[in-house]
């Protein structure tokens, strides 16, 4: 017997299988009812999407796995994943899908569901706040630069109020207002 220092740990235990009855079987239908989600079921897990993805090699959940997880009903894991927010939205997965599954669009749908549940990265929440405050993503600051180029100092035709009005009453408003 060797001496132990008292910090002895129990042996590594076996991991329980995922109990399918604890998953949300309606998740797939939820996604299918969202914009461009209807082709979800056509997925036959060929992994073309993952092959096409420029960044999935550093993801825990690859694109084909995210789709599998949606179909199986792993709602929480999908909506809490960092992967959906890191999606470049470059549409290479979607473009190459042999079954016309709109993979990128579906990841957009997931982000919307996650946002609805408040699962949203701080950077994105800040972006939402800025959009609502400024009524646009970027505001002209260096108007002299514009004048040097014979441009109007302000952008002709710009109106930001309607944008704010609309988003105040949609999820953007809820995300920002809920703080």
């Amino acid at each position: 017997m060797t001496e132990t220092d008292g910090s002895e740990r129990p042996p590594a235990t076996l991991i329980e299988p995922i109990d399918m009855s604890t998953l949300d079987a309606s998740f797939r239908r939820e996604i299918q009812s969202m914009p461009d989600g209807d082709e979800l079921s056509a997925c036959f897990a060929c992994t073309t999407c993952t092959a096409a993805c420029p960044i999935a090699n550093q993801w825990e959940y690859k694109p084909h796995q995210l789709i599998r997880m949606i179909i199986l009903g792993m709602r929480d894991e999908v909506l809490s994943s960092k992967e959906i927010w890191e999606c470049l939205t470059c549409f290479q997965c979607q473009e190459r899908c042999p079954q016309k599954v709109r993979v990128t669009d579906i990841i957009f749908d997931c982000k919307n569901l996650a946002a609805e549940e408040g699962k949203i990265p701080d950077a994105i929440r800040n972006l939402a706040r800025e959009l609502l405050e400024k009524g646009q993503l970027y505001v002209i600051t260096a108007d002299w630069e514009r004048e040097d180029l014979d441009l109007e100092p302000e952008l002709p035709g710009l109106s930001t109020e309607e944008f704010k009005t609309i988003l105040r009453n949609t999820r953007t408003g809820r995300i920002v207002g809920g703080e």
């Binding site: 995922i18 079987a25 079921s41």
Partner: protein, 418 residues
């Protein structure tokens, strides 16, 4: 060779029936031997067959045959002047020489004369010794099972309105001469007894695809209702597992070819026609070759869950049904399912009769199936001198292939006689 020489066809399934009809229609005297009481073979148990999804009692081939309704098995199989049908009959011995075979048949006792029986059901009411195998059985006649005989059978004989029953019938031996022999002895669905992980025959809710087909068939024992064989409970989740015994060097090394489509056809039927039943399919590869891909796509769209991986364990669940743990190789996770029916897509194995016939005729086999004489010749149906084979006797085949091969046999025989 002259036209009047008989052709003996062994096996009355899809292939044998097609060969028999094609030859008889072409004026060749044909004897069709079937071991069972009815022709149809495995196809009778398929419920719906791909690729047409027809109820298989009806057969595309009969469409162009005037005088016969679309339903093949209600055809004039018995009345064809060139076709002799021998059911309940086995081949005992083959002698003679190629072109002039001498075949000994053991014809079982003909208790019920199919030419007289009108299937009125009177005898069945009186005694359980009289059974109707299926409403579409061919010949269209009740079958008498001596083991089940009771005191009422005599009354049935007396009351039979057409006097079709003769309980004194004896088996007879018959020797026929045939110029050509066609082996159409079909396949057998492997029963995976002893494959540890699946517990087939130990757990009643573990069944094979053919057994599931019987459950789905409105004419089957459950009238098409899906219930748990163990306790009659409702079926809410059906899980299928592919490649059971196929592509497995411990059982059969080959791909059985039809199991994927067969399973997906059932998955489609369940997903679309049985409300509230979830279907999962555990697979290694889905091989829906050629146009059958549509079954795969259709079932995915119908919401069938496909899990690439293998089954770890199947066990009895506490509240009835089964608990199945599956390794999902795409997710690299283990998933635990509660299922009510676990369906094994088992291998197509050679029928025992194929082996017997091969020995009797001295022809080669491959993986237990009848082998072509020269696989490179393009005449895969020629398996010996004046000996042919078609359908699943040659190996796993779908119905249209069996039909095509049967027609090739007919053509080869006819060419030999011009």
């Amino acid at each position: 060779m002259i036209l009047s020489d008989k052709v003996l066809i062994i096996g009355g399934g899809v292939a044998g029936l097609t060969a028999a009809i094609e030859l008889a229609d072409s004026g060749v005297k044909t004897v069709l031997v079937e071991r069972q009481h009815t022709v149809g073979g495995n196809a009778l148990d398929l419920y719906k067959a791909f690729p047409t999804d027809d109820c298989f009692y009806c057969f595309e081939a009969s469409r162009f045959r005037p005088g016969i309704r679309k339903c093949f098995y209600r055809s004039a199989l018995l009345d064809h002047p060139n076709l002799e049908l021998r059911t309940n009959t086995t081949v005992e011995a083959v002698a003679g020489s190629p072109g002039n075979f001498e075949v000994t048949l053991m014809v079982g006792p003909q208790y019920v004369d199919p030419m007289r029986c009108i299937m009125c059901g009177l005898c069945q009411k009186l005694s359980s010794a009289f059974v109707l195998i299926s409403p579409q059985c061919q010949p269209q006649a009740v079958v008498y099972v001596p083991d089940q005989a009771d005191d009422n059978v005599k009354e049935a004989v007396e009351k039979c309105p057409t006097k079709a029953i003769n309980l004194e019938a004896q088996p007879t031996e018959e020797v026929i001469r045939a110029s050509d022999i066609v082996v159409a002895t079909g396949y057998h669905e492997m029963k995976p007894v002893g494959m540890e992980e699946y517990h087939y025959e130990e757990l009643p809710d573990v069944v094979t695809q053919l057994e599931l087909a019987r459950m789905l068939d409105p004419n089957g024992e459950t009238s098409g209702q899906l219930v748990r064989p163990s306790d009659g409970g409702p079926v809410k989740h059906v899980m299928m597992v592919q490649c059971v015994g196929s592509r497995d060097e411990n059982y059969y090394p080959y791909c059985s070819k039809i199991c994927c489509v067969f399973a997906l056809k059932h998955a489609d039927i369940i997903a679309q026609e049985r409300e509230g039943v979830q279907v999962s399919v555990v697979y290694m590869d889905i091989r829906t070759y050629d146009r059958h891909e549509r079954y795969y796509r259709k079932s995915r769209r119908a919401g069938v869950n496909f899990i690439r991986g293998r089954v770890q364990t199947v066990s009895k669940a506490k509240d009835g049904g089964l608990e199945v743990i599956v390794y999902d190789s795409l997710l690299d996770r283990y998933l635990k399912f509660r299922v009510d029916l676990f369906v094994l897509s088992t291998a197509l194995e050679p029928s025992a009769e194929s082996n017997e016939m091969a020995q009797m005729l001295g022809i080669r086999t491959s993986n237990g199936f009848v082998a072509s004489l020269d696989p490179t010749s393009g005449d895969e149906v020629i398996v010996g001198d004046h000996v042919y084979a078609c359908g699943t006797a040659l190996g796993p085949a779908e119905v249209p292939e069996s039909v095509t091969q049967a027609r090739a046999v007919a053509l080869k025989i006819l060419q030999g006689r011009k």
